[in-house]
């Protein structure tokens, strides 16, 4: 009797745990992988490596809590474009959008393939000329397909924050090729007041020996 009761009790507990855990996991993967930050930096051998952004780095870059960011499905479509939120294979369409491409039965030639290493490659490229004291933090915002000349390109929209020596931060958004990690577009760059700060200048050479002539 006791054995039976113990068995039933344990089974119910296990079932309860299973149901609870399953409900907690109804956070779509694309949201849980988005809005997370990854940091790239250099070691003393000039090698670039990436790691999950630490709390200290996150706070040092003045990055506000992204909790209040609104989901896409909460916005009403604008009257400006006929259908700006068409998607294909769970990726929003952008570029020269034709509604037919939202239909996955319509063939769309893709000019690139998604690489798992796109973020690492991008981070390495961005760090190439940076000093060891600089860190780059990258957050994935969205995955899209960009239509160019009737062909598609997998792209990622990211937010990039540079944390430079002295606590200086710069942020911007970027569109990145999902295959090569190349940055295609940037926008929303930070605006600084920077009063009384020395303006970087390049001295004009006393004489010009470039040999450049003009017609």
């Amino acid at each position: 009797m006791k054995k039976t009761f113990t068995f039933i009790f344990s089974f119910l507990i296990a079932v309860g745990i299973t149901i609870y855990s399953k409900n907690r996991q109804i956070v779509p993967m694309e949201i849980s992988s988005k809005n997370t930050w990854r940091t790239f930096s250099k070691n003393h051998l000039n090698e670039v490596y990436g790691h999950q952004t630490t709390t200290a780095e996150y706070l040092a870059a003045n990055i506000p809590d992204p909790v209040q960011k609104m989901g896409n499905n909460q916005r009403s479509p604008s009257s400006v474009a006929p259908s700006p939120y068409l998607s294909r294979h769970n990726r929003k369409l952008m570029g020269t959008i034709n509604g037919k491409y939202a239909d996955t039965d319509t063939e769309l030639e893709m000019i690139n393939v998604v690489s798992r290493e796109w973020k690492e490659q991008m981070g390495t490229d961005l760090m190439r000329f940076q000093s060891e004291k600089t860190k780059i933090m990258v957050r994935e915002d969205a995955s899209l397909i960009k239509i160019e000349n009737e062909k598609g390109r997998y792209v990622e929209q990211v937010t990039i924050t540079f944390l430079m020596d002295g606590g200086i931060t710069n942020s911007f958004k970027a569109l990145v090729d999902s295959g090569s990690g190349r940055i295609l577009e940037t926008w929303d760059k930070s605006i600084h007041e920077k009063i009384s700060q020395h303006r970087e200048v390049i001295p004009l050479p006393d004489t010009n020996e470039s040999g450049i002539v003009t017609r």
Binding site: Y20, R24, V67, S131, A174, I195
Partner: protein, 764 residues
């Protein structure tokens, strides 16, 4: 019972299950966020105020004390006053944002877990505390956003009855809310940034720093600083009224801190927003003033030099005062904050003129100007290319509906400058208070002559028509010309007066190839998001500091431009981006305004391709000299690559052989010179009168080129660049067609520009 293995297992499972349940119930859910763990930021704030009240500085300390020389050690507590803050327990404002729980919140620093919270419902603190900074910031931010969104509501209501508007109908949602923000604006009131405040557009935050070795001056004590930064936030909203996609490319005024006229206009507008809120025509007396950098918005400000006044002939006009710093008037300075003074002074003068001619109150005139800014920036920033709701259509502005091309046109090919801003702004005045049918100016209308004469007094009457049928898309073919007699001060100059320095012995261009300098330039520009994707075929390790262009280098080229006219030129822009000047095979075309090369030198014979400017046809600016058996010819880089049998995988971009060997780095593919004096070059224009020479080139004055390591030394390269300037007679409109503005697609060709060739020898 536990002696048997099975029983033991069951018992173990029970323990595991119970422990698991207990453990998982302690894990926070995905919705709790950091707020659930708040242990800091809670405070009492109980300095003799009533519930929901706190202590603030109604203006900055210098204004409140009426002491221009107020010492930084002064006890600011004596200047505070009581004000109603919020009925909420956190410093969060809901304002008018659709879809967000709250539009903005205020925190102390990056380390703050959440917005400041009160446990007593009171918000009064010592002025030196971080809590006071946050409360003060909240009060003024809330005040400004409430004022702006109230204005926007009126603007929106008004737009429903006007003949045309740039405001999309979906902008306004139920419950007096606007669908504008996708992310809460966070203001950090006690930022650890010296001599700096910042608007971070990507993360949607404002940062208010400090000055002084001991942080004696907190910028959050000066509300005008917050108004300026919030002004940038509002500019972004306005520029993107018609770009609502939260995952889409956005428009921006300006580009990092590189000088360009869009950035200068943005700074002028941000200064104006301070005046918009507090009705004072000076900005930053406390925070910026202590660093000698506060800024006036009116010629009547005592800080100005004699000779500037509010009379018609003594305005702070374009382009003469583009580089005028009132605190150092003898030393010309190129910077967006200084150049923005032209716009801030013009807008201030407009509000005064509206009060005079339309009998508006100061508040009404300022609100009207902001309404005009809403309409103007919404249209100019539209990346969908539609422009306006009723008289718009695809291709009306920023080329076409391909968002990346629109973005390219807005940022580089046809960017916002003083001319386009003034023209669109004037058009909106004409369509609103300038419309006799609407009678919005004290029962009458604000005449076209009023619009044009005020603009002209600021040197901003730089257009010949109001461009109402932009890109000829309007179905109603109305395009109002200006009255030429109103142009007394604004000067338009023919583009052929922009040349390379003809002085004997003068350089055509300067090459910057110092390794340290170039590496620093790249570091800064990559860090700002201005450039990216440097080719693996180049490296600064190849930079040899010989002031010549060598294989493998990354070089900056600054052009020695000369103004051959008798009037000041401004907004000189040299473009090195790809454009339509070759045929479909890449052969260089002879152009209407550039008969290079000769047919015997390799010019294309495809007249159809060469005479048709396409919006999707681009060719790199540089061609290569090829010594053929019978002649020397100019060929495309692709053809040169084939000629020397270079594997395409070794091109600068291994996916694009068009610019295999030399290309301008995207984002650094233009050089801008804010002003060039008559019969002078840029260097002489910015010469320090004491030293006789300019301080040097800045990042915005040079074009960065990548030079492939595979270019054979001795190769001659010809780069065909395009140049124009803002106050240009023939860069923006065709006199042969009623002075209609050029179409957007025309800017992909040669006609609106002056063509400049640089022949560059590649030296080993």
């Amino acid at each position: 019972m536990l002696n048997s293995p099975r029983a033991h297992t069951f018992f173990t499972l029970q323990i595991i299950a119970v422990v698991t349940v207990l453990a998982t119930s302690c894990v926070p859910t995905s919705t709790s966020g950091l707020r659930g763990r708040l242990t800091t930021g809670q405070t009492s704030g109980n300095l003799n105020v009533a519930l929901t009240q706190g202590r603030i500085l109604s203006d900055n300390p210098i204004i409140i004390s009426k002491q221009p020389g107020l010492d930084t050690n002064y006890d600011i507590n004596k200047l505070t006053s009581v004000a109603t803050i919020t009925t909420e327990s956190f410093l969060r404002g809901s304002s008018s944002c659709f879809g967000l729980t709250y539009c903005f919140e205020v925190k102390a620093t990056k380390d703050s877990l959440s917005a400041l919270q009160t446990t007593t419902g009171k918000w009064a603190f010592e002025a030196s505390t971080p809590e006071f900074l946050q409360v003060n910031t909240y009060f003024h931010l809330n005040k400004m956003l409430n004022q702006y969104f109230t204005n926007l509501g009126i603007t929106y209501a008004y737009s429903l009855v006007t003949t045309d508007t740039a405001l999309p109908s979906s902008l306004f949602q139920a419950g007096d809310k606007f669908a504008l923000q996708t992310q809460t604006l966070v203001a950090f009131a006690d930022c650890d940034e010296r001599n700096n405040s910042e608007y971070n557009q990507a993360n949607e935050s404002i940062c208010l720093g400090y000055s002084g070795d001991n942080k004696e001056i907190r910028w959050a004590h000066d509300s005008t600083i917050l108004y300026h930064e919030t002004g940038h936030f509002l500019n972004r909203l306005q520029m993107n009224f018609r770009n609502p996609d939260p995952n889409g490319i956005k428009s921006q005024l300006g580009n990092y801190s590189l000088y360009n006229e869009a950035g200068a206009i943005g700074e002028g507008l941000a200064d104006f927003y301070s005046y918009y809120v507090n009705n004072r025509s000076h900005w930053g007396e406390w925070a910026a003033g202590k660093l000698g950098a506060s800024r006036p918005l009116s010629e009547s400000d005592p800080i100005h030099v004699p000779g500037l006044s509010e009379s018609v002939d003594e305005r702070l006009s374009y382009p003469q005062f583009l580089n005028y710093d009132p605190r150092n008037p003898t030393i010309p300075s190129e910077g967006i904050h200084i150049a923005g003074g032209v716009i801030s002074h013009y807008l201030h003068a407009l509000t005064k003129d509206l009060q005079s001619k339309c009998e508006m109150t100061s508040g009404e005139s300022r609100e009207l100007v902001v309404y005009l800014l809403n309409e103007t920036l919404a249209e100019l920033g539209d990346l969908s290319s539609v422009g306006t709701e009723r008289k718009g259509g695809l291709g009306k502005i920023n080329l076409n509906a391909d968002i990346t091309l629109s973005h390219l046109w807005l940022n580089l090919v046809n960017p916002i400058n003083y001319r386009s801003f003034s023209q669109t702004f004037a058009k909106n005045i004409l369509n609103s208070i300038g419309d006799p049918l609407l009678s919005r100016c004290n029962g009458t209308y604000y005449s076209q002559d009023n619009i044009e004469s005020l603009l002209d007094s600021y040197g901003l009457l730089l257009f010949k028509t109001y461009n109402q049928h932009r890109n000829l898309t309007s179905f109603v073919n109305i395009n109002t010309p200006i009255n030429p007699t109103n142009r007394k001060k604004s000067v338009l100059i023919a583009k052929n007066n922009l040349i390379l320095d003809p002085t004997s012995g003068a350089s055509s261009a300067f090459v910057v190839d110092n390794r340290t300098s170039i590496k620093k330039i790249i570091e800064d520009m990559v860090g700002a998001g201005a450039i990216s994707n440097i080719s693996p075929q180049v490296d600064t390790d190849y930079n040899n500091n010989n002031d010549k262009v060598s294989p493998g280098e990354i070089v900056g080229i600054g052009l020695n431009m000369f103004n051959n006219s008798n009037s000041t030129m401004a907004g000189v822009q040299i473009l090195a981006n790809d454009w339509d000047h070759a045929d479909s095979t890449g052969k260089p075309c002879q152009l209407s305004n550039d008969l290079w090369p000769l047919e015997s030198e390799g010019a294309s014979t495809d007249t159809v391709s060469c005479n048709t400017v396409s919006e999707a046809s681009f060719a790199p600016v540089c061609f290569f000299q090829s010594n053929e058996a019978t002649a020397t010819k100019w060929i495309s880089q692709k053809e040169f690559m084939e000629k020397i049998a270079l594997d395409p995988s070794l091109c600068l971009d291994n996916t694009n052989s068009k610019d295999c060997f030399i290309r301008a780095i995207r984002g650094a593919d233009q050089a801008i010179y804010s002003k060039i004096n008559p019969k002078a070059n840029w260097g002489a224009t910015f010469a320090n009168p004491t030293t006789g020479s300019a301080a040097g080139l800045s990042l915005g004055n040079i074009i960065l080129f990548e030079i492939s390591k595979h270019i054979p030394p001795g190769t001659i390269v010809d780069c065909r660049l395009r140049a124009r300037f803002t106050n240009c007679e023939d860069c923006y409109h065709r006199s042969s067609t009623d002075n209609n503005d050029f179409l957007d697609v025309d800017y992909n060709g040669p006609v609106p520009f002056k063509i400049i060739h640089l022949q560059i020898p590649i030296i080993d």
